[in-house]
Subunit: 325 residues, 2 copies
């Protein structure tokens, strides 16, 4: 490894005259970044290319930023935005059409990496659009204290469902029950037999499973689904660090129980963002939905924060604070 | 094993005065019968109970029969019916409300075990209701020469799709291409690498997969699905004779490709039967849909016919002819 030290000019280069120059304030660590670190990506976005500084091929990710200079009609200097940015202090965005201008500023800005950004929309789309929860239905959320899971559980409670979540420590289980209002929660690491644990928490079976984990957890869930259950497949974080994915054995349950299992990518659904904001912003202000973040300070601490996701070190949504506004 | 020999009275017993007495003409051998032969059934219908002569717990199955005596207002002596009957020459049906009266008699009666019965409805519901095929889409059917597969392929062709099927012998592959009008077909037993075979037949990927097989085949398909693909999970015949099901590894494809995978049971959809008949009967008469059956003669040959399904011995829909009308 070699490090090159130099100076940069904080202005839009001619090659990106129609873009925007961003000062990054918060960067978001999200599980989907891991599969992009393989050559044959296997992810829904292309593989990162080590050494590349091209946007999207370098370590692009979601973040919150301030516009320092704009060549794009939708943005002007001083605007706050969220969307695709770089793993760096300053970013030249050549596709600012994909950035969202931040309108509601009376909430923590970092929320736009979470509840008011991509993870919030993920929870909303996966639960409401794919699973259509009905009052009284039984909902299970894995990785339930994470950026997405904590919201899925709270949204399902708002829909009148019975909600159980699992996470990997007592601290997280306490959060689920005491802060996020889940009906029940358990530490999956303390369960010898995941299927038996689910049977205990859902003696009548699971109507809706919000899948964040994959592998053994999915197998255990499949054995406990209820007739006409729905599974929103959001992610499979347990599989991302494996050489090859684990086998899932209980798929015949899809037939027996008439289950619909559907994968989705949140960016297909961003047209619903205004509708989502309309629902969620008042709920935040009224304290009816809460959000927990785990904040790393400074870009230097960002790599460890990202790696920590795959060991469950974060408690709540993992954010990196890069700079003050 | 002991065999009891006795005489029976061919009349409705008092305990089933509101039922019907049936003379079975054709019995249907179907893959779903295999999982019912386990104790912990693992099927969507209860386990068979050896020795039981109670309907549903004995070896009940689909068949075509003639009504010899009726205590039910919907049926009278001489009616032809299809639906749930027994693995025997005569059956007392205590739930005749579940039998379908046969109206169209100018087609082979045995068709009511197949194209005009449960397997036909299975193909119709799985393809049209679950997968909504659009003109030009790429459709793959496994177990494609079987009772359901041969119809899925032909229905998909009628919808303007490009259709490839797989089966387990050259004879079956020829049927698919020359009789059923599939665009392409291959013998899966001659492929070392199923995923590579699918890549060859679907260089652009698969939009719709009609799943009859499970296991390795499903894994190969998952690696070749197209964006927003649909998988109708009808059955997993490759798994029914295994002690425990194989693992499926490529489920992350559901996320990457936004795939919907849905299991179904045809009996949930029987309200569509009249609509289906309206579509399919004219097509049979015009020769636009053909149907191939493999007929075993006599009840004595029925067990071997059923077992043969799981070795792919049947060419076309496996029927047992029990008696003449």
């Amino acid at each position: 490894m070699s490090i090159a030290v130099g100076e940069i000019n904080l202005k839009l280069p001619e090659s990106a005259a129609a873009g925007v120059l961003l000062k990054n304030l918060y960067l978001s660590c999200d599980p989907y970044m891991r599969p992009r670190m393989r050559n044959s990506s296997g992810s829904y976005v292309g593989a990162f290319q080590p050494g590349s500084v091209s946007p999207l091929l370098s370590l692009s990710l979601y973040g919150v930023a301030k516009v320092l200079e704009s060549g794009h009609p939708n943005f002007e200097k001083g605007d706050l935005v969220w969307g695709s940015t770089g793993w760096e202090e300053y970013t030249v965005s050549t596709e600012p059409g994909q950035l969202f201008k931040i309108q509601h500023k009376d909430v923590p800005l970092s929320y736009y990496t979470g509840i008011l950004g991509m993870p919030g929309m993920t929870a909303y789309v996966g639960l409401y659009e794919l699973c259509s929860p009905k009052k009284g239905e039984y909902v299970y959320v894995s990785a339930a204290s994470g950026a997405v899971g904590q919201l899925v559980g709270q949204f399902a409670k708002l829909a009148g469902c019975y909600v159980v979540g699992s996470a990997g420590s007592q601290e997280k289980v306490d959060l689920l029950k005491n802060k996020f209002g889940f009906d029940e929660a358990f530490n999956y690491k303390e369960e010898q037999d995941l299927a038996a644990a689910l049977k205990r928490y859902f003696p009548q079976g699971i109507d809706i499973y919000f899948e964040n984990v994959g592998g053994k957890m999915l197998d255990a869930v499949l054995g406990n689904m209820r007739l006409r259950g729905r599974i929103a497949v959001c992610g499979m974080i347990s599989q991302y660090n494996l050489e090859s994915p684990e086998g899932v054995h209980n798929l015949a349950s899809l037939i027996m129980n008439r289950i619909r299992m559907e994968g989705f990518i949140v960016s297909d659904h961003y047209h619903l963002y205004p509708k989502y904001l309309e629902m969620v912003v008042p709920k935040i202000k009224e304290g009816k939905i809460v959000y927990v973040e785990d904040t790393a300070e400074g870009l230097d601490n960002a790599p460890a924060a990202l790696v920590g996701l795959f060991y469950g070190r974060n408690v709540g949504k993992q954010v990196v604070k890069v700079a003050d506004d």
